[in-house]
Amino acid sequence: MAEKRTIQLTINGRPYSGQVEPRRTLADFLRQDLDLTGTHLGCEHGVCGSCTILLDGAAVRSCLVLAVQANGRRVETVEGLAGPEGELHPIQTAFHKHHALQCGFCTPGFLMSIVDLLKTRPDIEDENEIRVALAGNLCRCTGYSGIVAAVREVAAQLRRERTP
């Protein structure tokens, strides 16, 4: 067993530190060491997107990031998406409204990918473009229609809010 390293990082605005083997993935560190089990592991080879989190604001697959690589950086997970009083993020509300989840296992990854999408491409409107943007996350239950509808609705809402 390799020597453990100390890491310090900010997760959902709060400081965390831990001792990890260099080979430990960020996903395992979040789930097993910190009990932040909202982030899920669906394939552990970077395809399904269930483990998507934001690292310094950008969507990454936490199964492909080592915990030591997150040292000194800012991590956002699904647990931090709702506001301090539990008020839901608009995409969470829209997922509920549009039946965009069934078993809910892939949901956290989708939510984090979508948060990144709406931030990097706030003008996205076209359904096909949305579908292409969502194609990095897999869902076996829903057939995606509710997810697409939820994204379209929130994107439109954000556009309206930006237009004075």
Partner: protein, 775 residues
């Protein structure tokens, strides 16, 4: 009862925790002192095990134990067969292979240690001396006389052979105007729930009790088989499918070796043990389904009326048959579908191969059956120059002919009797959704422009809601709220919402005042499981009937307390009151307290047992037959073989719908699975039985880009066989999808006269068809 909630789009009560990262999946659970496990799997599809040396693995720091078959003692026996059948020579797995392995991925050793990293390190230190043997990788090849044998005593690897049928097939073929013959191949796929299998177990030595958590579709089944494998009384094993299970789709309804190994190790070591399947293990060890070869023959009159159907089928069952011959049997009895067949015969050969065992995956034998029948209908239409919709209309069983006895015995041992349905209207409805006639006009225009667009039809009938039963305990608590406990266990189907809708309607309360407890063998003694589109029928009706009994009991006690005639009482908004005198009322909570004996000295009304509680196990008399028609339009790029889905329409009948939003979610999700089976998902094994597509890089699941939103029309033909009038809705989205796509692609390529004989239809295969047609 009121129908305030039944049939409405009640929003899901499951969502909030799942949206905020507070879901509770099996791998999220931790127990004090918990160890982690990893499984050493066979790298060979067929080999003798000469020796296993685990000494280096055992010596590794952080490893607590390594188990091989030699360490299992009395648990070193075959897992009990679920569905014995005199027509079957059955073999099921050991928890760990003994002296022979029969598929790549078969468990050989089980390592337990401090964390998953160290246990996987230890796997690499285990030395197994294998002597590789010849492999039967394909079912057709495996039937040949010189094929390698999976079991030496089973000639030609033939696990089972049976024939089913009715009518005089030979005579019908002899007098037919048209006889069509075609060979089809349908490929196996995998369940691929996004959450893999996960098992956690702990052992209480003083009480000699095992508690297991499993990401399963069938906790009662797991508990029963675990108790049998571990030699412990069934009541001493409690199995919990946690609140959240990340998808099932069939393969999680099986007892797997790990469900014996994890509690075995937990008991042996006196510490909790958890094993979490990774995706590669899912590819190599979670049951798969659908490999079939069909040689189909259809006899027709020149008007396009079917006279007879004959099918010779080879079914690849993999290396073991934990579910017996359920799949091939369902498949055989589904072939006739919605059509009137004067004569029918199927000869089914179930064949062992050196591959992952086969058990139901969403559709369970039906997609293959529908594929074959619908392909033959399309070919007949082409031959007779009829529209594919028209030839189907000429052969449909008519709604006024219901109930319709097919003349076959279903897997439950009962006759196949379609209880209800309107197939002609259903197909027309689906055609209307797609704009069928207009599409035909566009098609000729597109062809003249060099664009190849086509429309395909898939019609199915599905026996849903199979028994033997599912149960419910409905209890009114002293708070006035209602607790529903059922053996059914959800994996995303929204049972906590739909089951609460039923109970709330029956008891005149708010849906939010109903708590639904699922998937815990400690909460309800008997259960069967969530598979075969059976929960709405089985659990739904048991909840309704138990709630009705509780309601009667509440009225009996209220009549006594209010000194009123029971017939004058009404139950609404959580209280019982005297009709016309609402001031004379008593809340359900107060009634529950009274019934619980909270007023010492009070006498319960004569005949009333304590507790506002009732248990009901609903056992359906036979399957409830759901049906539907998918009509799909596609455009094929003849240069690349790429298929673009233009439009997807589904008209279906699942009886009365409890919650249309949830039904539509099931259909849309099923359609996505069908798209995967039709175009993308392929478990490619080489001749050595090695799986070449064991990752999501190679085995493609459809994404949002590939799955359009289906247009859905509901036809609610009430099922006469159960009080709620419901049928199942979980699999219909998948069942006819491949058949309709095959028809659509073939129709698009009609100018080249190609015949689609297999799925999945990769661009490569479509190009091959076109090349063979000289294009």
């Amino acid at each position: 009862m009121s129908r305030a909630l039944f049939g409405t789009r009640v929003e899901r009560r499951e969502d909030l925790p799942l949206l905020t990262g507070q879901g509770c999946f099996t791998d999220d659970l931790k127990r004090p002192g918990m160890l982690h496990a990893a499984v050493l799997r066979s790298p060979h599809a067929h080999a003798k095990i000469r020796s296993i040396d685990v000494s280096a693995a055992r010596a590794l720091a952080g490893v607590v134990a390594v188990f091989t078959h030699a360490d299992l003692g009395a648990a070193g026996k075959e897992i009990p067969l679920l569905q014995p059948n005199p027509l079957l020579v059955a073999h099921t797995q050991l928890l760990l292979a003994h002296d022979e392995v029969r598929y790549v991925g078969e468990p050989v050793a089980f390592v337990v240690g401090d964390d998953r990293y160290v246990t996987e390190d230890a796997l690499e230190l285990i030395e197994v001396a294998y002597e590789p043997l010849a492999v039967a990788a394909d079912a057709q090849e495996a039937l040949k006389d010189d094929a390698p044998l999976v079991y030496p005593e089973i000639a030609n690897n033939l696990a089972s052979r049976f024939t089913l049928g009715f009518g005089d097939v030979a005579e019908s073929f002899a007098r037919a105007d048209l006889v069509l013959r075609q060979r089809f191949k349908i490929h196996r796929g995998a369940g691929q729930a996004m959450e893999g299998r996960v098992v956690l177990a702990e052992y209480d030595r003083r009480a000699n009790r095992i508690t297991m958590w499993s990401a399963t579709q069938a906790p009662h089944l797991i508990g029963r088989l675990a108790s049998e494998m571990l030699g412990i009384e069934e009541r001493q094993v409690r199995v919990i499918a946690p609140h959240d299970v990340g998808g099932g789709f069939g393969p999680k309804a099986i007892f797997y070796p790990e469900e014996g190994l994890v509690p075995f190790a937990a008991r042996a070591l006196g510490r909790p043990v958890k094993w979490t399947e990774d995706r590669r293990e899912h590819f190599l060890s979670t049951n798969q389904e659908r490999d079939m070869y069909h040689d189909a023959e259809m006899a027709l009159t020149r008007e396009g009326k079917i006279l007879a159907f004959r099918d010779t089928v080879v079914f690849d069952t993999g290396a073991y048959v934990p579910w017996g011959i359920v799949d091939p049997w369902i498949s055989a009895t589904t072939i006739p579908g919605p059509y009137k067949l004067p004569a029918f015969q199927v000869d089914m050969q179930v064949v062992y191969t050196h591959k992952v065992p086969v058990t139901p995956v969403r559709g369970a034998g039906r997609p293959q059956a529908v594929f074959v029948m619908e392909r033959m209908m399309d070919l007949a239409a082409r031959e007779l120059q009829l529209d594919p919709a028209e030839i189907r209309q000429r052969n449909f069983i008519q709604p006024e002919e219901m109930p319709y006895a097919m003349g076959l015995v279903y897997r439950d041992g009962a006759q196949v009797i379609y209880d209800s349905g309107d197939y002609p209207a259903c197909l027309r409805k689906s055609q209307d959704l797609i704009g069928y006639d207009q599409f035909r006009r566009e098609q000729s225009r597109a062809r003249s422009e060099g664009r190849y667009i086509g429309v395909g039809i898939g019609v199915y009938v599905e026996g849903t809601g199979l028994g033997p039963y599912e149960g419910a305990i409905v209890q009114i608590e002293s708070s006035g709220k209602v607790l529903v406990t059922t053996g059914a266990t959800p994996q995303g189907q929204g049972h906590v919402t739909t089951m609460a809708q039923i109970a709330a309607d029956e008891l005149g309360i708010n849906v939010d005042d109903v708590t639904v407890v699922t998937g815990d063998t400690g909460a309800i003694p008997f259960g069967v499981g969530t598979f075969a589109s059976r929960i709405a029928v089985n659990a739904g009706n048991s909840i309704a009937l138990a709630a009705r009994e509780v309601r009667e009991k509440a009225l009996d006690i209220a009549a006594n307390l209010l000194e009123a005639n029971k017939d004058d009482l009404e139950l609404a908004q959580g209280s019982v009151f005297v009709r016309g005198a609402p001031a004379r009322s008593i809340s359900l909570g107060a009634l529950a307290l009274t019934a619980a004996g909270a007023r010492p000295g009070y006498t319960l009304p004569p005949g009333v047992q304590p507790g506002l509680l009732a248990t009901n196990y609903f056992s359906p008399s036979q399957a409830a037959y759901a049906s539907g028609a998918h009509v799909i339009t596609v455009e094929v790029d003849v240069r690349t073989g790429d298929v673009k889905i233009l439009d997807y329409a589904v008209a279906h009948d699942c009886g009365r719908m409890i919650n249309p939003m949830i039904v539509e979610g099931q259909i849309q999700g099923g359609v996505a699975h069908g798209i995967g089976n039709s175009f993308y998902e392929e478990l490619i094994y080489d001749n050595n039985g090695q799986l070449l597509t064991a990752s999501f890089m190679d085995y493609l699941l459809p994404t949002a880009k590939e799955v359009p939103t289906a247009k859905i029309a509901h036809m609610e033909v009430v099922c006469p066989l159960n009080p709620l009038g419901v049928k199942g809705a979980g699999e219909g989205g998948t069942i006819p999808s491949a058949a309709a796509f095959a028809g659509a692609v073939e129709d698009a390529l009609a100018p080249f006269n190609v015949t689609v004989r297999e799925v999945p239809l990769s661009p490569e295969k479509i190009r091959k068809l076109l090349r063979e047609a000289g294009r």
